[in-house]
């Protein structure tokens, strides 16, 4: 069923190369606001539960993007979303293009219909050259998503691994995002 809409949603435009002024102003030396939004997704992350994620976003020339902003959104370890935690804002390094995130591993998400989704962190990406944001998810376990109903019958089984970070110790993760080419990350639309 399609409900009648009275208005169309305002078109997106690129955030441009200077998004830091508005979104992470302290990086540009502007310190006029009370706090910088999304500086940590959870307050007081204990060493015990802390995980570290880092990576780069590669463009079609395989160059890391140095002017991107990534917002992440996730549930807590019990699979529950809150309004005042779980959000972070990261920018890629002006020289290396690397982003870094310290957070906790989210739990399995319990959906409205009672089904359970494998745990993931939502990545929302904007940059110069992106007219619209790119949305992807970092999952933790390839086998888990292969059996998830959402992905089961899709013809992209061979690309599901682009949603899984590299890790040796389940505490430190490397999640690179590729915009094009053989390793192109799966992006979502809703």
């Amino acid at each position: 069923m399609v409900k009648i809409k009275n208005f169309i949603d305002t078109p997106s435009q690129t955030a441009g190369p200077f998004l830091h002024i508005g979104c992470t102003p302290s990086i540009t030396g502007i310190n006029i606001f009370k706090d910088e939004l999304g500086s940590t997704p959870f307050k007081n992350i204990s060493l015990n539960e802390e995980i570290n994620i880092k990576g780069k976003i590669y463009d079609g020339n395989n160059d890391p993007i140095i002017d991107a902003m990534i917002e992440t959104w996730q549930c807590d370890e019990n699979g529950k979303y809150f309004n005042y935690q779980g959000f972070s804002r990261r920018v890629t390094d002006f020289k290396t293009g690397e982003y870094q995130l310290k957070t906790i591993r989210p739990g399995n998400q319990i959906n409205e219909n009672g089904t359970i989704s494998p745990s993931y962190i939502l990545f929302w990406i904007v940059a110069r050259g992106m007219n619209r944001p790119l949305i992807t998810r970092m999952y933790f376990d390839e086998n888990e998503i292969k059996s998830d109903v959402m992905f089961k019958n899709l013809s992209i089984q061979d690309r599901l691994k682009t949603l899984i970070p590299y890790t040796e110790d389940k505490k430190n993760f490397v999640f690179d995002i590729h915009l094009q080419g053989k390793k192109e990350t799966i992006f979502f639309e809703f």
Partner: protein, 233 residues
Amino acid sequence: MIKKHQPLRRFPDYKSSIVRSPENEPLLINFSNSEITGPLFNKNILNENDNNLILNFSKNGEKALGQEIFVHGFVKDENGNPLKDVLIEIWQANAGGKYRHQNDPSNTKLDENFGGCGRFITSSDGYYIFKTIEPGAYPYPNRGIEWRPKHIHFSLFGSMFLQRLITQMYFEGDPLIKSCPMVNSIPDINARKLLVGKLDLSKTDKEKILGYRFDIILRGKQQTYFENKIEGS
């Protein structure tokens, strides 16, 4: 899958979109809890002057240079219902078209009293207002050197991640709008007009500064997927 009122990700006239857009179509999925929830921001994150860019970076109370304007409007959903508690962040160049940013190569001067960013949270009727100065147009490398129309960058958080939006407001009558590849990446010509702030002389402000009205619509839970299915079959 094309939403004609949203820009194409790959639009070759905007050169950097060529290497910064995926080659595969995005995967259309049903949204889940992560899309229908999102961070909320409380008014207590705001200072009194956060929405006044003429003063919020001032040294010794001096005003930023340029044509003083206010930019105001309402944030609504697709059915026209006002959206309260929407965090709006804006950023812009100064009156000479220069950003306070280490990567801005322009040799135009910075204004020591202008930072170029502001914040506001919409009131219960979805209303917002900023005071600022009219930004200058600036050149950028695209197909050779091109000029961006005067614009203010807007970032909005509704109540769920589905509503997250970053966009730009242009200024009514600016002749640079029609040749801007970022504007023209939107296939629906009428939708492009939604990004143009309209001159608004209606508001009698005691400071008598020029007004622009810019209303913003954030999407609801309707799925792109279903709209598309119906159109296509």
